[in-house]
Amino acid sequence: MAAPQGAHYGKVARNEDILRVWGIIPQNPSLLFPISPQRPAAVWTPRHPIGTDKDMTNDLEALQREVRSFLAAEAPTGWRDASRTQDDFVRTQRDWFGKLVRAGYAIPHWPAEYPGGGRSLAEQKVIYEELAGADCPRLLLSFVSTYHAFATLHECGNAEQKARYLPKILEGETWCQGFSEPGAGSDLAAIKTRAELQSRPDGDVYVINGQKVWSTMAQFADKCLLLARTSSDGVKQAGITYLLMDMKAPGVTVRPIHQIQGDEEFAEIFLDNVEIPASERVGEEGKGWAVAQATLASERGLTLMELSYRMRGALGRVAKLIRDHGHTEDRGVLRDFGVLVTQVDAVCAIADQFLDNRINGIERMGDASIVKNAYSRALRAYSALGLRLGGMDEQYVAPITFGDLNTGNWMADFMNSYAWTIAGGSEEVQRGIIAERMLDMPREPKGWVL
């Protein structure tokens, strides 16, 4: 055995000096990325969220009681069994959204002039916690309408557009998003769909040609938030224009995408000489990229908090497998389950912390990426353990449930978990954001060509 070295505290040289001795830092450096003498404080300082004051806590508790008593009477039960086909799923979604609109819990993030709006982020968090806790269906069909369409119109739309569209969303008008294209996924600004301004006797129109993909539930949508290119001059972000498209307009063809787990959550949209009145433009022509940022920033943290708590609740499905398969004294299985439980608890903690920080007005670059990667990896681990414990049983096809990530159909859940490491900014894109924006690592030089 090698002789242990013994303690050498008090004798450690400074890192910079060691690197200099070893020639890793040149003697006379003209460094591109110099060592910072002291780390930036923001990286280090542990977050101590400011405590909420007493009045606020009381108000939140009152809201919690109110939502609980509503859910005790109205929370849908058996919705999973009623969501075995896409059509049934859409029906349960519309019913539940309507009920929540009437109860005042569907759009807590909207301004106070709308019924059920004007809720603080802390209040929104309470509502979502309760909805998750009561295992209600997630609001999927109305998600793009109440978040993306709302934020876009509220922040960038003109008065007429707001008056025309926002009330209709509460009546159930459904929106989809026409952003991604076959050649523009992570690199969204590379879109090629063309919009050409033409005169018509009853006003100017944009004529649209192109193809959109990965549009969530576009097959059920009435309207579409569309990004199209009005110019190819200059940087690629500059020529993008933001339009509101009627999905029933001539030339719009929607084809659902059959996913590997049997769901059809996304669709392709083909655009063939579709005419959109110029009055349906949001913001100025060529300034659509900035509008798109409002769309994309519309939901920051509530969904992942809700999903994390739903996964926490669904750990019971894994526990049931362990019991059903007689593994309750299998220490290896118990350990693996324990690792998963802690992983899911930690995801709940980080999702909570992210939201609490936002409630206190703190948000830093990359925080959201960490929450997303932590959640999507935990979801993979959760479904992978279920799949493993389920064994051969899971290889026989069983009915899937639309609109749920933790269904207990472990093959479907496992495959569905890939949607979370890929969609909404892939895991790799998030890693890049964490590295470059949080850790301040250098970005690749512009115009890097292979």
Partner: protein, 334 residues
């Protein structure tokens, strides 16, 4: 009540990030001077009466500089005595410890037997910086007791460890007669659970602080180390690994703070936070050595201090296998 961030700032000023593994004895003097030994002692006992958030913030900072000064063991030993209201010499000992004497709680389990004459023999393991100690707080067969190191039948043996940032000792008992009982056998369980939970949080904080420092150092290195005419920080494959290191730390830290603030959390739940933190620390330091390349293999560079501290922390107060199994068992029952 001092703000937590003030405590953190004071710690960062006293122990600057650039000076790793500072002298143990100087650190101890500094910590005693700033009242850190007393942060958790109730005010009526002459302490500062801070919450466990405060001790967590301090242990984070001590992990960050790889402190050898045994603040965790010292605070826990002090808490054990403070919690023992039936102990006749409680006040005397609290005063002595407040003055800078050291009576640690061991971080590993003991192997002890009680003879028919009531004397105790065997080994108390996991005593950090035992050469500084005047006594150890140990769970003997008859309950928790203070074991003075100068008592008959007590000897101290250093157990060389791979982690050079700390030193570890065994206290060997051979016919030791306990005199300073803190609890009886019945009261030992409650005290053990309380101290165990506190120890888990403290170790988790040490891991998170040190892991953050390891990541910072690795990123700095990647920015200055040039190969193929560019800093290696520019390679996407390496950037993504750094991002995963950051993610592991931030997520484990979030669970730690949540459990620190959850007064109703069970020992198992507190231990889960430690296991996640220690595993994150291990992951980060393994990556640290790899990403530093050749220099990471040298004794000269501090990489190995982080790696070895991580691997030792994993073993303290119950290892990952033990606690993961318990977490799984507990979740199965709820």
């Amino acid at each position: 009540m001092i703000e937590l961030n003030e405590l953190t700032d004071a710690a960062q000023k006293a122990f600057p990030a650039g000076s790793l593994s500072p002298s143990r004895d100087e650190s101890w003097g500094l910590a005693a001077e700033m009242g850190w030994l007393m942060v958790r002692l109730p005010e009526e006992d002459g302490g500062l009466g801070f919450t466990r958030e405060a001790s967590t913030a301090l242990h984070l900072e001590m992990g960050r500089v790889l402190a050898a000064m045994p603040l965790i063991s010292a605070q826990l030993g002090l808490q054990a005595i403070a919690a023992s209201h039936d102990f006749a010499e409680r006040t005397d000992w609290l005063e002595r410890l407040a003055g800078g004497e050291y009576a640690p709680l061991p971080m590993l389990s003991s192997k002890l037997t009680q003879g028919s004459d009531g004397t105790v023999s065997g080994t108390i393991s996991g005593v950090f910086e035992g050469d500084m100690a005047v006594a150890v707080v140990a769970q003997l067969p008859g309950g928790y007791a203070l074991v003075p190191l100068d008592a008959p039948g007590v000897s101290l043996v250093e157990r060389p460890i791979w982690d050079p940032s700390r030193r570890l000792f065994d206290v060997v008992l051979d016919g030791f007669t306990p005199a300073l009982m803190l609890t009886d056998a019945a009261g030992a369980k409650a005290l053990h659970d309380r101290l165990s939970g506190e120890a888990q949080l403290a170790l988790a904080a040490d891991c998170i602080g040190a892991a953050g420092a390891a990541l910072d150092m690795t990123i700095e290195y990647m920015k200055v180390r040039r190969q193929f005419d560019r800093p290696i920080a520019l390679f996407q494959a390496l950037k993504h690994r750094a991002a995963d290191m950051k993610t592991r730390i931030v997520v484990a830290e979030a669970l730690l703070w949540k459990r620190v603030r959850d007064e109703s959390a069970s020992v198992t739940e507190l231990a889960a936070a430690k296991v996640l933190a220690a595993e994150a620390f291990r992951f980060v330091t393994e990556e640290m050595v790899q990403l530093h390349g050749g220099i990471g293999l040298t004794d000269e560079h501090p990489c190995h201090l982080f790696l070895k501290r991580a691997l030792l922390n994993l073993q303290l107060c119950g290892n990952a296998d033990l606690w993961n199994e318990r977490v799984g068992r507990q979740a199965l029952q709820t």
